[in-house]
Symmetry: C2
Subunit: 147 residues, 2 copies
Amino acid sequence: MLYTISEAAVKMRLTPYTLRYYDREGLIPFVERSAGGVRMFKEKDFGWIRLIECMKATGMPIKEIKQFVDWYMEGNSTLQLRRDMFYERKELVEEQIESLQKTLDTIKYKCWFYDTAVAAGTTSVPKNMKPEDMPDEIRQLKGKIDL
Amino acid sequence: MLYTISEAAVKMRLTPYTLRYYDREGLIPFVERSAGGVRMFKEKDFGWIRLIECMKATGMPIKEIKQFVDWYMEGNSTLQLRRDMFYERKELVEEQIESLQKTLDTIKYKCWFYDTAVAAGTTSVPKNMKPEDMPDEIRQLKGKIDL
DNA sequence: ATACAACTTAGAGTTAACTGTAAGTCAATA
DNA sequence: TATTGACTTACAGTTAACTCTAAGTTGTAT
């Protein structure tokens, strides 16, 4: 089963513009063309594009993803480099999750803060509340955040 | 204790350019000026800037952060709007964490894949490995991801 | 064979969030 | 008081990742 760029775009939830951009940037050199030059996407290509989207989701810039694709096209001589890249990404994603969890602590505190402020009609109530009057989990959060 | 823009930048791990940009965009209207027009940052401002950085860390664009600051400057009549904004952010951050955890599953699978490929000198070993020959946690991961 | 929709490339335009430059002003020290 | 380094504004430049336009080509349906 082969797909045109529009069909591939629907399947991948991208636009044809984006797929052509990825092609120009060297992210999908394995996508073949018809005799007339029309891109023909095959099933196997979608797995690759999903992997590219996964790397993008880690915040990896397109140029670094291209580096990885270049290594892949080079064959087994680049296995170590590709392995190391994934381990580095693993570290970074674990850090991102930790960081987002800290961010979430602040947001959760603010949710309580504004719940309390809305109920009172003024921010001075949560602002001046003594720690011992706060719910346990909020007191914990307040201790963790640095606002 | 008052701080110049350079001192404030060091304290917040930002550049003076960025702080001026935030000021121009209306993110820190509460920062006062000396008679000569020089910005004078006070301790209280840093808490605010930390909150702005927290909102930025959730992926919130500067224009939406400005909306929140505008609501703050308007006073208690905007409490409900501010509360709702934090609840919306909470949802989004929880989604981001979930999404990153799925991304991490794919990365972890690829770490195993390339560990195995490097050991064998070729990707065909992990590529053709039967599920029952994989470690349990890898088989689990492989079932979860969609490459 | 002829339409005509969907494809192609090259290159320009957009957006967000900075980042830097130029010209001029402020403030601390010799 | 004069110098000098840090500040000010206005505005231009940068970067990443698209997004769109124009001019031309391909492929399918009559």
